[in-house]
Assembly symmetry: C2
Homo-oligomer: 515 residues x 2
Amino acid sequence: MDGAQALMRTAADAGVTACFANPGTTEMQLVAALDSEPRIRPVLGLFEGVVTGAADGFARMAGVPALTILHLGPGFANGLANLHNARRARTPVVNLVGDHATWHRDADAPLTSDIESLARPMSGWVRTSHHADHLAADMADALAAALDPPGQVATLIVPQDLAWSEVDLDALPTVKQPSRPLVSPSQVEAVSEVLRRSGGRAVLLVGDTGTRRDGLLAATRIREATGCRVLTEANPTRMERGAGIPAFGRVPYFPEQARQAFEEVDVLVLAGATDPVNFFGYPGQDSHPRPESCELVGLAQPGDDVVHVLEALADALDAPAAVVPLAERPEPPTGAALGPAELGAALAALQPEGTIVVDESITSGGPYAGAARGAPPHDVLALTGGAIGYGLPAAVGAAVACPERQVVALQADGSGMYTVQALWTMARESLDVTVLVCANRSYRILEIELARAGVAEPGDAARSLTGLGGPELDWVSLARGMGLHAARATSADSLVEHLRQAFDTPGPALIEVPF
Amino acid sequence: MDGAQALMRTAADAGVTACFANPGTTEMQLVAALDSEPRIRPVLGLFEGVVTGAADGFARMAGVPALTILHLGPGFANGLANLHNARRARTPVVNLVGDHATWHRDADAPLTSDIESLARPMSGWVRTSHHADHLAADMADALAAALDPPGQVATLIVPQDLAWSEVDLDALPTVKQPSRPLVSPSQVEAVSEVLRRSGGRAVLLVGDTGTRRDGLLAATRIREATGCRVLTEANPTRMERGAGIPAFGRVPYFPEQARQAFEEVDVLVLAGATDPVNFFGYPGQDSHPRPESCELVGLAQPGDDVVHVLEALADALDAPAAVVPLAERPEPPTGAALGPAELGAALAALQPEGTIVVDESITSGGPYAGAARGAPPHDVLALTGGAIGYGLPAAVGAAVACPERQVVALQADGSGMYTVQALWTMARESLDVTVLVCANRSYRILEIELARAGVAEPGDAARSLTGLGGPELDWVSLARGMGLHAARATSADSLVEHLRQAFDTPGPALIEVPF
């Protein structure tokens, strides 16, 4: 058994079931080791941003860590943006980054670079292996670090000579799935007192696992008992929505609206969420949208058992069972008009139960969020770190994690182009992903931000750097070029028809929805 | 004048003529500043790897530094792989990376990350600006650093509040174009003695600017006078080739062939090149292909005036003028067969004088290198750092730098997919780029490396991670989806026809060449 095989077997023993990869020469032993480990499904991405985004989407849904294989510093760098999103999502991802043989590193071969310096900003745990006999233990440590609640990105750098060396091990290490810490009853009691006192002027901000069904139900009970308002994090890692699941607003994106959401709030109770921060700094705005006078009360940190503590708080408040009003499911839209409203209604009207919606719609997805309250229960994965290009890859990963569920990528066109290669992996792996491209032919958010920056009438340069025109992207051709069924919606009627067909047909499909 | 405008004007005053950009909110002032600076052409890339690869290709050809605008840590990370190539090419590139407003950084907003840690591995110079009044001087320092011979990547991090603040400056700083150091006559004399003594068992290894016409002519004279062999670096930044230009072999890629190239060599004279290193470390191979006993003699370092020193050495050797034997230009191939040989012959037969060939053909380009000796004079840009995905973007940059010249991207399919978004920029900017996709439907080099690693019969996992089949990429659809004319060659005849048409028609075109 060589080092690579010992490492891969350790991963499989710990429950790893998929490896997203874009390998190179220095990872050939890791690749070969997958041939002797049938418990791990290899999934090729044609670009590393696909690999890491898929790992993020996979681990958000799978309940086990995702594994990646990436090639040296430059290949790893290509995956960093989506690892940034995984870091913000607190997703358990283990990266295996191949490096030159230990004795070859000092020669400064063309592909040599400082991999640890690249790794640290987006990883909670970084290690370079130093001995073939340690590779399995290093893998176990990486997995344990990734699983440490709430989860994090762990990066293990594997010099190639360690991977190809024979190892001498009595037994492979095991990895224990850690449990989430509970919160003390006295802490729950203290928060219940605060909320009883100031419920009408309090906000309960829910994050981490609290945005799943049981957490949201408990939050509803707390609201009913105290009169507090409930918000969720701006960009939840995984949020359950739809019929029977309470729908709360998120902390808004623009600072003016975010400030408004916290107006006249005396107490902010954090349940698995952190103190909210504006996405960007603007002249004349604080970094935080809450009033300076607002008291911050920590109920549960990310990584705690947030659902349990929310339920304990509801019980401490003697709150009755939650009653979730039934939201009406929209009818499929009809007619010639086609815009974000029709797109939102069509998707909410037709999506099957248990759909996973990967939302990178940026400025186009607003109406869907409202319409989806009446859809059957589903999961929404948000862009947690703001690094665009996560949507298509995350849809790949979610579909690998949950082959029995429909996945929908609600995808803006500008951000979709960053990791467009993900479409090929959907086709190759026959994944049940329906891609809806919101094609507004611009970086619309930048046009808005340019106006906010005081540029009322952009000149040629600014227009050319924020618009996607000349030539227009033809998403149908792009998708067909990577082996997908693809169509362009020309009206609400045709959108509904294409969407029905996509949901009825196994395998991936892309629908371009021009606005 | 705000900080962004002061910075942009400083760049334009220093001779910057193009800015390759993929901006975000934190760069809106930099974008707006381009509206008031008509001397700088803004070029949008739909992914940051396109932006940095274009900057590399531009600066290799333009003789002035390239400028980029990139968005925060994750956007910058997306551009690092091609900055790695630019670092190895010693290309003068200045990156402007926007950051959050200084007062917003500590709030750890979603897009916050350690940009300097990301920048250092691929940059020779890194600075974060600290005051709006310093932005122009910081830009001047970045340009000076980038231009410092032989050239390097410089990264300037610009917090957004500095960009939007009004500045108070009496005058803008200026940037002096540094000259390349000469080498002392005594050094030249010493090397000429060494070569006279051991010419028959010496190799002259030429790199940096020495791979341009005048350097190669001088190297020919040195060879004629001493009997030494001449090699060029494995992956030259810019090499001139074709009729009237001496063609030397490069240091081979695989270690066995590289070792053979240095067999029975007692002296290795380095002229703008560094001590050669094998691309990867393999069991039983040294890091260096030269014999351990071989004496290393430094004639010129990268950054020295390599052409001048080669000419001085030839003169010191009383070498006669170089005679370059006329290589025959191949005829356009005919018939049904189509493989790398036909591709190489067709391109060499038809390419117009002054063509810039961006070579990322990996395993498919060998026959072209031989055939092109008889083509009209042209430039070849090689993959200097081994980070694949440089070809299509570098072709964009070369075409922006030299609008009067034909650019050819000789592109492997696997690596082409990494930054396929570059095709759109070719269309938008109406660049005279002909893309030849060598479509062998695999990461062929990895199949070879897997065999070298002892995996004679790869299993399903290894095959799936090194092959590009199922589904096959349809490059014609991909190109049309981004607005390019595109066709598939089905024979040598049709390749020649499509190639003639592409060269006769202004604007970009893509030809898929399946092998």
